[in-house]
């Protein structure tokens, strides 16, 4: 169990921000941190890993105190032994895939466990390649394997899949789930992707401006409304066309442009540039299976 009660003043783009956290994570849980950029998610992971020193508070993992401001105890990053996957993969560019993994070996790591890892994340073919010749998804698998070489109990994932396209992300989510179970990890994931969080995690903390503003299971946090049979999208109005009896709104939802028909009265209160919520009944959708 991770008992975390930490404070840290951060230099954010908008000035200083106090990161003030109080959370408990149970052994074996898959927890996600969710929230806008600059909310303090990465700093939270860095404090757990020991890469960032908190100003005050206490961090306890299992029976052991990793950080305690009152007794000046601060376990070094090297001896905390957490697995950490960085957003930019952070592979050692001058080493091959296998060398990257071997370098992560501790004295008691067996050859076998590296072979097993290579098998689990399917890197066998790429063993002798240098990172620069790998695709983003392949690099991320190497980074994941490297973080697991020392058989950590805690795995920290800092938006590991953010830079990858949807189909590869989907596949890698499978690997994350697999290693979490295979190696009995306690995993903390930073993600902006709601479907990813719902798919992977047991529990979610939502952060904003350095505070936890909501927590619960993914279902509690994200699905409260959608069970009623509605689709909801947020988007931005790009254009309003007034036709004879109706008005047509062109709305940008994520990267998709949709046209929505509304009455003149509704359109009168809107203008291009407005952020809007589009809600639609879901009783008669067309559903196509995609090849993944």
């Amino acid at each position: 169990m991770i008992k975390l009660q930490l404070q840290k003043t951060l230099q954010a783009a908008s000035g200083t921000m106090l990161l003030d956290l109080d959370l408990n994570i149970f052994k074996g849980q898959f927890v996600s941190l969710y929230g806008p950029s600059g909310a303090g998610k990465t700093s939270t992971l860095r404090m757990i890993a020991g890469l960032l020193t908190p100003d005050s508070g206490r961090l306890e993992v299992g029976e052991e105190v990793w950080f305690d401001a009152s007794t000046k105890k601060n376990k070094s990053v090297q001896s905390r032994g957490v697995g950490y996957v960085f957003q930019d993969y952070a592979l050692f560019p001058h080493m091959t895939v296998l060398e990257n993994l071997n370098f992560a070996k501790a004295k008691n790591t067996s050859r076998k466990s590296i072979d097993h890892l290579i098998e689990v994340v399917e890197l066998g073919e790429l063993k002798h390649r240098k990172p620069e010749t790998l695709s983003g998804g392949q690099k991320q698998r190497v980074a994941l394997a490297r973080a697991l070489v020392q058989q950590p109990e805690i795995l920290l994932l800092d938006e590991p899949l953010a830079a990858l396209d949807a189909s590869i992300r989907y596949k890698l989510q499978g690997y994350l789930k697999l290693v979490h179970e295979e190696f009995n990890l306690t995993t903390i994931l930073i993600s902006h992707d709601v479907s990813e969080i719902v798919k992977l995690s047991d529990y979610v903390y939502q952060l904003d401006s350095g505070k936890i503003i909501a927590k619960g299971t993914p279902e509690e946090l994200f699905m409260g409304q959608s069970i009623s049979g509605k689709f909801k999208f947020t988007g931005e109005i790009l254009k309003i066309q007034f036709e004879e009896t109706i008005s047509v709104l062109s709305i940008l939802v994520n990267t998709q442009l949709v046209k929505v028909v509304v009455s003149h009265e509704e359109a009168a209160s809107l203008q291009p540039g407005d952020q809007v919520l589009v809600v639609s009944k879901a009783f008669n959708p067309l559903v196509y299976k995609l090849d993944s």
């Binding site: 990053v77 090297q78 950490y84 952070a90 050692f92 001058h94 370098f103 992560a104 501790a106 973080a147």
Partner: protein
């Protein structure tokens, strides 16, 4: 032709470069990581030899280590080190004088490595020392090579500092650049030309090699 000044020149350049390599790495490492208020001061001091006339450095060196004052006589009487008009003095002055040529490339190289890469090494249990040796330095080989060659070439090209504190003692402090000056003064243009031509050719070859290696031009041949 007397080869002694040339041999002495390369001896000086070699010893200076080796010492610089060892001391520049920790300096560059500290500077690349530091955000201390003292950092600009240290950076300015390291870079001073780039713009300072060599005679200024030589002059203060002469005063500081002269056996006529306290520090110089203490060094000579207690440690038996004579830094004025000696090879050891030349080495020390050359190290100071070529310091920026070794520190700058290494510092730039270390700063160019993404922070996450060194942090990744820390999270897999590697100490700062192991990370420097196995992760950071191997990644900046071109920068290390540039530092080594520039320091070496710059030491060969030294004149002012050497003349001020080394003087012109054959076999001890008379390096090639000073020998050339000497021969020209004695109107021995032939001898001066021989020294000059050799220095010209060697420095050109050394620099050419660096650009070939760093520009990956040589890869075409051994691929």
């Amino acid at each position: 032709m007397n080869w002694e000044p040339l041999i002495l020149t390369f001896e000086l350049a070699l010893v200076t470069t080796i010492i610089l390599f060892v001391i520049a790495i920790p300096i560059a490492y500290k500077l690349s990581k530091s955000s201390s208020r003292l950092k600009p001061v240290i950076e300015a001091l390291v870079s001073m030899p780039l713009v300072l006339p060599p005679t200024v450095l030589g002059f203060y060196f002469l005063i500081a280590f002269s056996p006529n004052n306290f520090f110089g006589s203490w060094l000579e009487n207690w440690l038996g080190i004579k830094l004025i008009f000696s090879f050891a003095g030349l080495v020390l002055a050359s190290v100071l004088y070529s310091l920026p040529f070794m520190v700058h490339p290494i510092q730039a190289g270390l700063s160019s490595i993404p922070k996450s890469i060194t942090e990744a090494a820390f999270t897999i249990g590697k100490s700062k020392w192991q990370t420097l040796l196995k992760i950071q330095l191997p990644q900046i080989k071109p920068a290390l090579l540039t530092g080594i060659v520039l320091s070496f070439a710059h030491t060969i090209g030294e004149f002012g500092v050497v003349l001020m504190i080394g003087g012109n003692i054959p076999g001890k402090t008379k390096v090639a650049s000073i020998a050339i000056y000497d021969e020209v003064e004695a109107l021995n243009y032939g001898a001066a030309n021989q020294y000059s031509l050799i220095l010209f050719a060697i420095t050109f070859c050394v620099l050419l090699l660096v650009y070939l290696l760093n520009g990956n031009y040589l890869k075409r041949f051994y691929k």
